[in-house]
């Protein structure tokens, strides 16, 4: 089995002995997608032995703003269910309602779920990686009346997920841990690529999104679908680059501090306005006095999301360079496990 790595590039999964759980989760998704009849999606294992210069990594990017949400920016900030582009955020305001800080996350809830599967303490340690002073209670993490010590790993996993929307550490105290919107899931991402990886020659690639489990009105889905369908049409096989997941890439727009334009994406800049961490899975925007965005004050997280580019990397190569079992049409191979 491919040794899938921790998408946060932290040592947390390994230190908590959760890495193997995570690998099983990702493997399960890969196998499901690779077994989809006619899909160009294949296991990452298939790329072993393919010459490096024959493997192409194609970033598929989109803007984090939830295009299909017919709501005001303030309402989008307040309702995580409206944030459906594989990015969610929490906006913190001062007593006067002024925006202080916005934390963005692209982390899948199953990543946190595998920590929960190990133990409540592993999960709490994960939270302390983000908030060193954190002291989450069992009730915070799993809901009332749940005894994690007496539960199986599977029960802890699901109890954590079931309680996620009510978990204060994921909902404003102080910010968020991971994606909770039902469509922002690892399964949804794989399903999208799986469906769009089936070449539909009778439909132009740009129209496939409306025909499969893909939402054309979103920012994310059409980009991913179109890219994958195009690769399938070109006879390529593809997979997600390891570690699988969405990365926070770049904040666009004209940012000025006291009237002078700044490079908000410069990680070494002293202004400290934008910090991306956890291998691009989490970012913190700090509002400072004198900071403007396109000559306007920053009032909502949605305003920032309008210019926040995120993406996922797809690796692909020619069919004839991968083993026979990995090629399109061989999805029933017993090797795919």
């Amino acid at each position: 089995m491919f040794a899938y790595t921790d998408p946060t590039a932290s040592s947390r999964l390994a230190a908590s002995e959760a890495l193997q759980f995570w690998r099983q989760v990702v493997r399960g998704e890969e196998v499901t997608s690779a077994r989809r009849p006619g899909s160009a999606y294949t296991l990452l294992d298939a790329f072993d032995g393919v010459p490096e210069d024959s493997i192409t990594t194609s970033p598929v990017t989109w803007l984090a703003f939830p295009k299909s949400a017919n709501a005001t920016f303030e309402d989008i900030d307040a309702d995580r269910l409206l944030q459906d582009e594989y990015v969610e955020w929490h906006a913190t305001r001062d007593g006067d309602g002024r925006l202080e800080r916005v934390v963005f996350s692209c982390e899948f809830r199953w990543w946190w779920g595998v920590l929960a599967a190990v133990s409540a303490e592993a999960l709490a340690d994960g939270i302390r990686d983000l908030h060193p002073e954190a002291d989450p209670s069992v009730e915070d993490l799993f809901g009332p009346g749940f005894d994690p010590a007496a539960a199986t790993p599977t029960r802890r996993f699901f109890a954590f997920l079931d309680h996620l929307r009510s978990n204060p550490w994921n909902n404003g105290s102080p910010d968020l841990l991971c994606l909770e919107q039902p469509n922002n899931s690892l399964r949804a991402l794989f399903k999208l690529v799986e469906d769009c990886g089936v070449h539909l020659p009778e439909i132009p690639p740009s129209s496939v999104c409306g025909e499969v489990a893909c939402v054309p009105e979103r920012n994310s889905d059409p980009f991913v679908c179109n890219a994958v369908q195009g690769l399938a049409a070109d006879g390529r096989v593809l997979s997600f680059r390891d570690p699988v997941g969405i990365r926070i890439l770049e904040l666009g727009g004209i940012w000025k501090l006291d009237g002078e334009e700044i490079d908000v994406n410069d990680p070494d800049a002293e202004h400290g306005v934008w910090k991306v961490g956890r291998n691009g899975r989490r970012a913190v925007f700090t509002v400072r006095d004198g900071l403007t965005f396109d000559d306007d004050p920053i009032l909502t997280g949605a305003q920032i999301a309008q210019r926040l580019r995120v993406g996922v990397d797809v690796v692909h190569t020619a069919q004839d360079l991968v083993p026979g079992w990995a090629r399109t049409g061989m999805e029933s191979s017993r090797i795919i496990t």
Partner: protein
Amino acid sequence: MPQRHVPSAALALTFLLLLAAPAGAQEDTPFLKQLHEGTAATSLTAAELAALSGDPFFDLVLEPGGRVDSLEEVERRLAPPGSGIKEELFVVHERIVSPRPGARRAVIAFKGRHPSGHMLTRNVMLSVFFDSERFAERSVEAWGWDNHRGRYNYYRLDRSGTPDRRLSWKFRGSSEGADLLQPEDRSGTCLACHVNGAPIMKELLIPWNNWHSFRFLAGYLSPSAPDERRWPIASHPRMGFLTGAEVLETDHLLDAIRHFNARRVNDVLEREDDRRAIRVDAEGFARVLEGRRTLKPLFVTTEVNLISADQLSGLDAFPPAGDTSPSSTPIRVPNSFFLNAGLIGGRERGQLQILTANEFSGAAVLDPALYRELVREHDLQLSGVRGDAHFAWFVPEASHIDNDLVSRLLREGVVSARFVAAALAVDLRQPIFSGARASLWERFVPETFRFRPLAPTDDPLERDLALVDLPGDALIPSVIAAIEETEPADGTPEALFLERLRSDDPLRALEADVDAYLAEIRSEKQADERSFAARLFQDLLERRRAMLRDPVLSTLDESRGGLLPLPPPLPTPAGVPTEGHRGREEGGER
């Protein structure tokens, strides 16, 4: 932060001397001035040269002099090896979906900070034609943004205007005062298309009809396409920068328009003597010095963008390669076809947030077979070839540059939500080319007025001074007084405008109008879908014709009949002829 390089007048003078250097000296590519197509190019004065310094294109490409006689050399100046500057190349053409070899336009943008200190992102752009074999290396158009003076400068490299047809660079004018020009003054200039002076991308929003984008990938330009599908030019190193139009929209044009409009608004406000702070009087009011100019975009269509349904027409006049089976996906007519959805239904601060304005597209869903029947029935053509655009329902809409300006005026308190809602209520169902709204601007908008600046955290939709608290020379009292003087008859646009300005809540009244309109659309469709579609289709054709009749905006059809699907004969613009603008095959930025 690196300091921006601002050359001295002495350096500019040196450049002039180089230009006049005797034969035998290094043969620089001359830099001249040519404001109108077809006229002789002349030398720039020292003052004119000095006025260009600070523009990164001038500073990096033209001012240093030398033999900058090709696109490649321009690229080398702007993105020197090792500089980390990222180049992006976007491709547009009315026939982009067809793999048949032909001309295409490339728009080239840059991202990053130049070693000189100049920020190139959004501040420089190039345009050049290419075909299946080569780029027109010596026919280049460019603009640069001068942040100090708040203006765009336009340039061109070609052989026109010199007696010996010598290759030369020309300064082609700036954006200063562009919005004030009459149609006849625009003819033969860059401002024939750049109406307000800013960069334009006609098909600004998804699905970017006519552009290479993720919604339509011009496979023949991809280096990895199979040999039989790939154009030879696909192997050119420059094609490695090929990027989708979605990036041009979000990473370049929207920002360019925003900061241009920010300067436009700032420039019309009364300032303190030191010309920095906006002057606020003892009552807390500031003053707009050019009221009519500032408010024109709210009432008059100064520019348009071109939108379409997200669905394919299935009837391309110039079809793509591969399967061209008709699509079975229902056609959703864009919201902006019905009303100014961008401003009325916009969700962010500075827009009216009437969210039902975004529901028209869901109500006006058409059977694709019926749509295709209507296309055939009306004998639509592009460049004399029967068919439609690649994406269905390709139509002019209210422009982003106009809406963005109004939005900024709202955010800064220059206009109130009351005023904007009252204006947009007039001829609501005609989002562009409204004679009724234009007449209100002509007759009633004052040249100067006072306003209470809005704090950055104030909500423009909430903070609204009561009419009784407004001074007589504020905008609304001025307009009300002007309308009242004419004693408007019931049912006239001015009567409606007056009623709404005086009403308790024009914003809610507009919302009610939108709700009623939406309900009517739904009923009409439910009653008789075929008649509904036919009626909308007639409106679609009329909207296209209106653009081609407009003495300014008709110029946007550079291909003269290849942009908007219409039955022959095509309408002609009223008034001033638009001669002198170079057609699509030769040049001209989109």
